[in-house]
């Protein structure tokens, strides 16, 4: 009896793994192996150009980070970027979704129109925005019209990152808007009706019903937002032609990793940085989960 059950279980497991093998193989080759290889690289000094050599250096690459001023600039830029972009895009997405969830005219048109920036390739967006940000461009023209100061958006280190922030909030918010929109439609109408009978106003309904009901989705949106902002690369790459300038103002973590990996060909240090970035993102996610769980208990 027990032997037959064991055999059965074995056969079942074999069948299960058999079915999973394509996925395991692909994930293993393209996900697991590269991760392991990156960890391997991060404890070596690697020379690829010319004579290929791997020299084990232990934690030297990680110690090097402490003195690397550009790393701290990149981390600061990335953190500042995430702190501003994630809340802004989350709130904007929620507001847009709430508006589009109401019974307004041309609702479908607006849904499509708002979603368009997300579908557009980010490289194209950046090039268009660089025109808008040009000293004689549209944005400065409008600012001047309403009497606000104009900036050299592309060349002035103090506003260059803000330029990328505006662009990214504008282009990422619609993606999260769609997610919110789907979640909004899952909130039972009866709760709103009950609240109305209790005499709740529009704001009260929004704060007491919509926002709490959306909490799991908000968690997802914030986590994805933070991961996305920490991985910012293409916009600042095109914006600064790969340099992270002016004055390191648009230098992000991933751009720094790219520069070390492909400009300086220092794969060991670049892998160590990538590993560090992964740890940072994981830590932030864990902290967030803890934070959101606690809220749920209340």
């Amino acid at each position: 009896m027990s032997k037959r059950a064991g055999n059965n279980r074995l056969r079942e497991a074999a069948a299960g793994y058999g079915f999973m093998s394509p996925a395991i193989l692909i994930l293993g080759c393209f996900l697991l192996l590269p991760i392991l290889y990156a960890i391997f690289l991060s404890v070596h000094k690697v020379n690829l150009l010319g004579e290929v050599s791997y020299k084990f250096t232990g934690t030297a690459n990680f110690e090097r980070m402490i003195d690397d001023q550009r790393l701290w600039i990149a981390l600061r830029n990335t953190a500042r970027y995430a702190l501003i972009v994630v809340p802004s895009q989350t709130i904007l997405a929620l507001v847009l979704a709430s508006i589009l969830n109401m019974k307004i005219r041309f609702r479908n048109f607006f849904r499509v129109a708002y979603y368009l920036p997300t579908v557009t390739s980010s490289a194209v967006l950046v090039l268009i925005f660089m025109w808008i940000y040009n000293t004689n461009g549209l944005l400065n023209f409008l600012l001047e019209k309403v009497g606000l100061p104009t900036y050299n958006w592309l060349g002035d280190p103090s506003v260059a990152l803000a330029g990328i922030m505006i662009m990214n909030i504008w282009s990422t918010a619609p993606l999260f808007m769609v997610i919110y929109l789907a979640a909004l439609q899952d909130i039972p109408q009866s709760q709103y009706e009950a609240a109305e009978i209790d005499g709740a106003g529009v704001w009260q309904k929004f704060w007491r019903i919509t926002v709490p009901q959306l909490k799991p989705v908000t968690f997802y949106v914030v986590v994805m937002g933070i991961i996305g902002t920490f991985q910012l690369f293409d916009q600042s790459y095109i914006f600064s032609a790969g340099s992270g300038g002016p004055n390191n103002a648009t230098l992000t973590m991933v751009l720094l990793i790219y520069q070390y990996a492909f400009k300086n060909l220092d794969m060991g240090y670049a892998s160590a940085l990538a590993f560090m970035l992964a740890v940072v993102i994981m830590l932030i996610t864990v902290i967030q989960r803890f934070f959101f769980r606690e809220e749920k208990l209340n």
């Binding site: 010319g50 690397d68 000293t135 461009g137 060349g155 280190p157 300038g245 492909f262 300086n264």
Partner: protein
């Protein structure tokens, strides 16, 4: 060099050009089916006599700054293939981030047989031992002595081996708008830096509080300002390749650049007026003077046909003449499978005949004295000043650590240039960061 910026800003355009270039050179070998017709084919005939009509395909890569220039290079390549029917050249344009692409391909063993190499990146690659030393291939016919020595030295390693030959060169000269000069009542271009500042004052035009025309367009980056570091006795790097520019002598020249922008407000960078680079700024009439190289001449002539401009030597700083010299060479991949054919291509492109065609239209200046004399660029009204600069120019090169130094210098110099930090602090920080990085990478 400025060519890369143009390629960068016209990313889409140039990738389209790259595609069309791949399509257009496939049939270029057909018209060349009469062997032994040319003198240089006779040398190849000796080696391939037993097995004729066997064609070798070699790959060749570079960047491109304009469709016209690319067409001209294709013409030179076609002439080469006509003379060497057994060699087929596959020409490829790398549109953006040229060095990243080349280095990555060298690692992957997919690099082209022959490719462009900017002098400032050359020490890094020569050190890595990925280029083929060319000394063994050189014959008397090639006439090494004909090259301008500083340009040739740019591709010599520290142990004296030559890894490449310069395809062309340019120095920087002062470009000035003749009409603006006449309107401001200025007869002659400035010859000293004091004069330059005085003239710029007169040429700067303001609309309200905003400057609409700057007297001088500046490029706040190391490639253009290295000679300013040297003007008062400073130096960029020491013998060990460590950055050493943040000295009082080094800062003096740079301070002139910054003060003219921040204090006198008679100079600005291209992005201050919405332009991409100095040539564009000058062409659009947003700067009365710029310090640019030969590449700006064909650009201005094609894009701003009504612009009336002239050139002069860069004004003297501290009583000394100074400018920058840029050069790009052809180098051979050490892993190349067709080294003989690759050498034939390099020797043709940098030989008297190929260089003459390549530089005949004035997109670039020749590095061979004989070609220079034949084309007469020293007497050319626009290019004379550029040629004259060659004798005292600082070559844009400083050992294998230059890319790191440049990156940090440019980043911090902009901070000083926009008034975010004091020049002294910015340069000190740039020097320390660069030296930290250099030390960590060793």
């Amino acid at each position: 060099m400025s060519r890369k910026w143009i390629a960068g800003t016209a990313l889409l355009l140039s990738s389209a050009m790259a595609l069309s270039a791949c399509g257009s050179n496939s049939n270029s070998n057909e018209g060349a089916s009469s062997p032994a017709a040319s003198p240089s084919a006779s040398s190849s005939a000796a080696s391939s006599a037993s097995a004729p009509a066997e064609t070798t395909e070699i790959t060749f890569a570079g960047w491109s700054s304009s469709p016209e220039e690319q067409a001209l290079l294709q013409q030179v390549l076609d002439e080469f293939q006509a003379k060497n029917p057994t060699i087929k050249v596959k020409y490829e344009v790398i549109a953006d981030q040229y060095m990243d692409v080349i280095k990555t391909r060298l690692i992957g063993g997919e690099a082209p047989d022959v490719f462009y190499l900017d002098a400032f990146e050359a020490p890094g690659l020569m050190e890595k031992n990925v280029l083929e030393p060319l000394d063994g291939y050189v014959t008397d016919d090639f006439d090494l002595g004909d090259f301008e020595t500083p340009m040739l030295d740019a591709f010599k390693s520290t142990d004296g081996k030559t890894y490449g030959f310069p395809k062309d060169t340019s120095t920087l000269a002062l470009f000035y708008n003749k009409k603006m000069f006449a309107d401001a009542g200025i007869a002659n271009p400035p010859t000293t830096w004091d004069e330059l500042q005085a003239v710029a004052e007169k040429l700067t035009q303001k609309s309200g509080s905003k400057v609409s025309v700057y007297g001088l367009g500046q490029a706040p980056e190391l490639a253009r300002q290295m000679f300013m570091i040297q003007a008062f006795g400073g130096k960029l790097a020491d013998d060990q390749g460590q950055a050493a520019f943040a000295t009082p002598e080094g800062l003096k020249g740079l301070q002139l650049v910054i003060d003219q922008h921040l204090v006198a407000k008679t100079a600005g960078q291209p992005s201050d007026v919405g332009a991409g680079w100095g040539g564009e700024m000058f062409g659009q009439g947003k700067a009365a003077m710029v310090i640019e190289g030969n590449w700006a001449i064909p650009y201005l002539q094609t894009n701003f046909k009504d612009l009336d401009f002239a050139t002069a030597e860069v004004p003297t700083v501290n009583g000394k003449k100074g400018t920058m010299a840029f050069t790009v060479g052809y180098v051979m991949n050490k892993e190349s499978k067709h080294k003989e054919a690759a050498w034939k291509l390099i020797s043709y492109l940098t030989g008297k005949e190929g260089m003459k065609t390549w530089t005949s239209k004035g997109f670039a200046l020749p590095t061979r004295k004989s070609v220079s004399a034949e084309l007469g660029y020293d007497k050319d009204p626009l290019r004379g000043a550029l040629v004259a600069g060659g004798s005292y120019a600082t070559t844009w090169q400083a050992g294998s650590t230059l890319p790191t130094i440049m990156n940090n210098f440019n980043n911090q110099f902009i901070a000083a240039y926009t008034g975010q930090s004091k020049l002294e602090d910015a340069m000190k920080s740039a020097q320390d960061t660069a030296n930290n990085e250099i030390k960590a990478a060793q």
